[in-house]
Every structure is written in structure tokens, then in C-alpha cells.
């Protein structure tokens, strides 16, 4: 099931879609920019696809892009290309939201616009000279499948944010090459998941994936574990043993927390990377190995080199120029709703929760396996046979305010715990009037988040963040420094999109210019921050 927003001055498509393709949830029709912006604000995160008409026969005051004192001819032309103007504004808000223009390419009023639209990756055409319900159904399913494929792959959630999509495309390229890959970023951002389920799978290598967590391994055992050993080479070595490098021959070796590598192991790793051969501890025989090396760290390896804690020559061999840094979860805030749905889906794959939900469904006569996620304002009026999970505005606010020090891992665990506790509690109580809607209680969520709560998690509406105060000679300087900090954070969260920043700061993307001016006044430079996004 997909959430589809219909933008059309007529009722026809909305009526037909609801009747002929009832398996999806439709919103709208919305008929002008004002209504579209309101719908995106309300449902934005949930919308999978927009069906957009091109010609809008609407009142002049509702048109966008209309010049002052426009002649009747110009007004008519603006009506004929209103859909394209809406698309342009929509793209500023969400560059990757799939949009189906309900017109054939030939019908587009402007050649220039037609060329631009064709070049755009997430814009599709509905050739409505010939379309019927089954053709539209096929098109919708294909688009949603492709778009969801980019958002999630197996256990990996990429989301829609440009930063993670850039990480994906960079890793796709790096996975196929011979050179090592460094994965950076805070703990819990999914580095080992990416190494196992994306880099290894996309590398085309037929050998095994071998993971070694260096943070939990005694330093004195590292060399033997990584490079192997022969019988009697150290106390307790009772037989010849292959190391991780040999086990991963032809495949991928993932070294997690590479910063913990002992000095001896660093020296030996350098030699393996230089020569492509491994020598077991206590042996003289060199064994050729072909291993794709992926290393991960939450530390700054460059700084460790500068402090003399990590060998510079080894660092240089690890291909530091192509380090892929994963953003923290708070930097992916725009994806929270989708991530929530993803984590619910993942959690439901677990046997205990599956059993709890199954017995709840059976008790209340609810169909299917899917769980829909609802917000306060989208509860269906009457009882349905599909199970829905309600997260109130207050609960969503809690998710947004939390700083998620454990990142993705913490988020996934919180969702799973919330589901387990909710359904376990429900097992012992009779269903109310609406057993099809199960609420995650805000108090339960608050309790679950308490363990990792930081003092700066501000209650109330709006976006919250953490800033550092450093004394200065005037209060104005202190305030400017604080402002710089949240401008930087917002810039990173919104992938450098000033319209997104303006929505948070001034309630509308239309104030982007003002925000950009202030950004410049604060002495911030786009080119400096762009590197951090990349």
C-alpha cells in the first residue's frame, strides 16, 4: 500500500483511483499551491507518490507564478503550465519525491520545460491518452517499488535524505574497487551492517564475509586472530590455525574499531596491504590472499595519526581520501517517520513480537500482516480490519527531541521495545471500541528514552538542539556564536537546503533568501560546510 497525494483541479482522478485502485491510500485532490503545501506539511513524510495534473483551471488568486497585470492570454498560459510551476516548488521541498505528471510529454506546453522534466530522475509521465486503471496501477507500483528500493535494502535504511543517498552511491563505486574502505561516523550508525549487507554484496566477490570486532578482542590475541598461527607459536596454540585474512580470501574482511588495533597488528596489516600475502604467527611461509578490506571507526583516524596512536603509513594505505562518513541519526531527522515504519517492519520479523501481534490479531479478528502507522489526525473514522499503530503528535515530538546518542541502533531498539511492551500489556486486557488502532503510550516512550536522555532535550514545540556556550566580551558575540551553531546544524540536517532551514526557522520555505543572508552575516561559508555534507 502506498500513500498517494493527488494534485488536480478536477475530481476525476481522485474518484477513479479510489474506486479502481483501492489498495492505496489517497490524499486530496488538492487544487493549488496553498493546499499542496498544507497537505505536504500534514502528510509529507508519508507520501510515496504525487499524481500531479498540469493544467489547472483555477481562480487567478490561486495561481502561482502569475506576473502583475497579466493579460488574459498570460493568465491562460499560466493555468496551462501551473502543474509545472507546482512541480518546481515541490522539488525545492523534496527533490526525490516521485511525481507522476498526468500528461504525456507531447502535451507539455513548453519545450524547455519538457526537456527539463525528462532530465529529472524522479518525474514520470502518465500518457493519459491511453491510460486505464491497470496501466496506472502498474505504473504506480513500479514507481513505488523503485523508490522504496532506494530507501531501504534488506536491513539497511537509506531514507530519502541526500546525504545517505550520496553515501550509497559512493559505496556502490568503492565496493567494486580493490582499495580498502574506511567507514567513519558515530557508534550505532550502521557501519557493520553496511559492510556486510551492502559493500560485500555489491563487491561481486564470491568469498566469505568475515567480521572482526577489535574493540572486544584482547590486544595480545589480535595478530594470531587476524593473520593465523602455527601450532606451538604461543602458549595454548595447539594446532595450526587460519586467521581472519585467510578465512576472508576472495571475500571481504571487516575490521570494526580499527583504532583499537595493536602496534604489532598494525605493522603486520601494513605488510599484508603492501604485499598481498599473509604469514601466520610462527610460520615463514607466505600465503597469497585477495581480500577486500573494510575498516570502521568512530574515532578520527587522522587525529590518532597526529597523536602517534596510529601508524601514518598504514593510515595512508587504508585509502583515507575516500573515507565514507555516516551521519548521526539527528542529522537524518527528516527521515524519522519513514525510519519508524522501517523499524516496525524489522521488529515484526522477530519471533516473540510476531507471536504477540499474531495472537492480538486473532483475538480481535484483524487481517493481514501489515501494520500501518497513524498520527492523531489520520485515524480512520470507523473500525477497520487492518491493524494500525498510533503514534500521537506528542510521541512523535519525543522522537524528534531525543538526541539519540546510540543512533540508528538505539532508535531500532526503542521501537522494538515499545512494540513488545505495548502488545504484551494488551495481551492481558480486553480490546476497547477500536482494537484496530493500537496506541504507543507517550509515557511508555518517555520511559524507554529516559536511559539515554540528555539534559538538553527541550520540552515543547519546535526543533531542539544542543549548543555550546563559550564566554565572550559581549552578549551579542555569545548570541552570534550560539546562532552560528544551530545554523550549521540546520544546514547539515537539510543538506544545504535554505528552504528547509527557512521552514524550521521562519515557518515557511519562502523565507530562504532571508535565512541565506543571515547565514552569510554570521560568517558561515557554504563551501566549508558542503564538504561536511559530502
Amino acid at each position: 500500500m502506498a500513500h498517494i497525494l493527488i494534485v488536480d483541479d478536477q475530481d476525476r482522478y481522485a474518484e477513479l483511483c479510489r474506486r479502481a485502485i483501492p489498495e492505496h491510500d489517497y490524499h486530496g485532490p488538492v487544487r493549488n499551491w496553498k493546499e499542496l503545501a498544507a497537505a505536504l506539511k500534514k502528510h509529507g513524510q508519508r507520501i510515496d507518490l504525487v499524481l500531479l495534473d498540469v493544467h489547472f483551471d483555477i481562480a487567478e488568486e490561486d495561481l502561482i507564478g502569475l506576473p502583475k497585470d497579466a493579460t488574459a492570454k498570460v493568465v491562460e498560459q499560466i493555468r496551462r503550465e501551473q502543474g509545472l510551476l507546482l512541480l518546481e516548488k515541490l522539488r525545492h521541498r523534496d527533490p526525490q519525491l516521485p511525481v507522476v505528471l498526468m500528461t504525456s510529454r507531447d502535451d507539455l506546453p513548453l519545450e524547455r520545460a519538457a526537456e527539463e522534466m525528462q532530465a529529472e530522475e524522479y518525474t514520470y509521465f502518465l500518457d493519459d491518452d491511453y491510460v486505464d486503471a491497470s496501466a496506472l496501477r502498474t505504473q504506480i507500483e513500479g514507481i513505488v517499488r523503485a523508490s522504496r528500493g532506494l530507501e531501504k535494502e534488506g536491513p539497511i535504511f537509506w531514507g530519502r535524505g541526500r546525504r545517505m543517498q550520496r553515501v550509497r552511491s559512493r559505496l556502490l563505486t568503492l565496493a567494486l574497487g580493490r582499495l580498502p574502505i574506511i567507514l567513519g561516523g558515530p557508534t550505532g550508525t550502521g557501519k557493520s551492517l553496511l559492510a556486510r549487507h551492502f559493500i560485500h554484496r555489491r563487491s561481486g566477490r564470491r568469498g566469505s564475509f568475515v567480521a572482526v570486532d577489535l574493540s572486544t578482542m584482547p590486544r595480545e590475541l589480535m595478530t594470531a586472530h587476524l593473520f593465523g598461527s602455527v601450532k606451538g607459536s604461543y602458549t595454548g596454540s595447539v594446532a595450526d590455525k587460519k586467521g581472519a585474512f585467510e578465512e576472508a580470501d576472495g571475500g571481504t574482511l571487516f575490521l570494526d574499531e580499527i583504532g583499537n588495533l595493536s602496534e604489532d597488528a598494525q605493522k603486520m596489516l601494513l605488510s599484508v596491504l603492501q604485499e598481498g600475502v599473509v604469514t601466520r604467527i610462527g610460520d615463514v611461509r607466505e600465503r597469497k590472499v585477495d581480500v577486500k578490506l573494510v575498516v570502521a571507526t568512530h574515532e578520527d583516524l587522522g587525529a590518532m595519526v597526529a597523536e602517534g596512536r596510529f601508524r601514518r603509513d598504514l593510515f595512508m594505505r587504508l585509502n583515507p581520501a575516500c573515507t565514507v562518513k555516516l551521519p548521526s541519526l539527528v542529522e537524518r531527522e527528516l527521515d524519522y517517520s519513514r525510519l519508524l515504519a522501517f523499524c516496525v517492519e524489522q521488529a515484526l520479523a522477530g519471533p516473540y513480537l510476531q507471536e504477540l501481534v499474531h495472537s492480538y490479531r486473532e483475538r480481535h479478528g484483524l487481517d493481514g500482516k501489515e501494520i500501518r502507522i497513524l498520527s492523531d489526525d489520520s485515524i480512520p473514522q470507523t473500525r477497520e480490519t487492518v491493524l494500525s499503530l498510533l503514534l500521537s503528535t506528542k510521541s512523535m515530538g519525543q522522537l524528534h527531541r531525543h538526541r539519540w546518542p546510540g543512533n540508528l541502533r538505539e532508535f531500532a531498539m526503542t521501537v522494538e521495545n515499545a512494540l513488545v511492551f505495548t502488545f504484551a500489556e494488551l495481551a492481558n486486557v480486553p480490546g476497547g471500541a477500536r482494537p484496530d488502532v493500537v496506541q504507543i503510550r507517550p509515557k511508555l516512550l518517555r520511559d524507554l528514552l529516559r536511559a539515554t536522555q540528555t539534559p538538553d532535550e527541550i520540552e515543547g514545540e519546535g526543533w531542539g538542539t544542543q549548543v555550546r556556550i563559550t564566554p565572550a566580551d559581549t552578549l551579542n558575540r555569545v548570541a552570534s556564536e550560539v546562532e552560528r551553531q544551530y545554523f550549521i546544524q540546520l544546514y547539515l540536517i537539510h543538506d544545504g537546503d535554505f528552504r528547509g532551514m527557512a521552514s524550521v526557522l521562519m515557518g515557511s520555505p519562502d523565507y530562504a533568501r532571508k535565512v541565506q543572508l543571515r547565514f552569510n552575516q554570521l560568517g558561515l561559508k557554504v563551501r566549508d560546510l558542503k564538504n561536511r555534507i559530502a
Binding site: 487544487r31 483555477i58 486503471a133
Partner: protein, 128 residues
């Protein structure tokens, strides 16, 4: 060929051609006479409907017909004229939802003819 004519053809295709055979095109193969009557009513009596009200196919064509006067005698425009005339004749019965299966078939054919003629006209004028 003036831009005005090209624009008029695009508008006619969108306003009339797109919606005149809209529901009937989506009908399943096993649709019964009642389904056909409903779909034809929707396509021909309520061809355009939105917040600005309802307009029938005949009324739309009457509103935009003069935009094509400069074309003189034109096969596609005449084809639309003829098909609209056939629709106009059966409109009272359709409005009362008392259409026979044979006339329902005639109306469906006429509405397809309008859609095809307007698409052909638009394509031809664009290429000139």
C-alpha cells in the same frame, strides 16, 4: 499556423478530449449496462467537475468551438462536430439515465471519436 490555434488545440484536448472518455476507458471488460450508463453520465454530462462547478461535453465544445474558426474546413474539427451532434441528440435520455444498450454503445463510440479527433488535431497542429 498561429500559436493561438496550437494553444486552443491543447486546451481542447485537455478540457474535453481527456475527460470525455475517461470513466468508460477505465471500465472493466465485464461491466454491465448500469456501469456503462453511470460512466457515460459522468463522462458526458459531468465532463468537467471541480470546485468551479459542472460542465457537460456539449457545453465545453460549444464554448471552445469558435477557437477553431480560423482553420476553416478541417476533417478533425468536423469529426468532432459530428460526434458532438450525435451526443447532443442522446443527451436528454442520458440525463434521465434511460439510455438503451444500443445508444450507450453509440455514445461510447462518439465520445471515443471526440477524444481521438482532438488528440489527432493537437498532434497535427504541433507538427506544422
Amino acid at each position: 499556423m498561429s500559436d493561438l490555434l496550437r494553444e486552443a488545440a491543447a486546451k481542447a484536448k485537455h478540457d474535453l478530449g481527456k475527460y470525455i472518455a475517461f470513466q468508460t476507458r477505465w471500465l472493466p471488460e465485464d461491466a454491465n449496462h448500469q456501469d456503462w450508463t453511470k460512466a457515460l453520465y459522468s463522462d458526458l454530462v459531468q465532463t468537467r467537475r471541480g470546485p468551479n462547478g459542472v460542465e457537460s461535453a456539449v457545453a465545453i465544445w460549444e464554448r471552445i468551438r469558435s477557437d477553431f474558426a480560423a482553420l476553416g474546413k478541417d476533417d478533425d474539427v468536423s469529426g468532432v462536430d459530428d460526434a458532438i451532434a450525435a451526443i447532443r441528440e442522446l443527451m436528454p435520455a442520458l440525463e434521465r439515465e434511460e439510455i438503451t444498450p444500443e445508444n450507450a454503445e453509440n455514445l461510447a463510440q462518439a465520445s471515443r471519436e471526440v477524444a481521438q479527433r482532438l488528440a489527432a488535431l493537437h498532434k497535427r497542429l504541433k507538427e506544422i
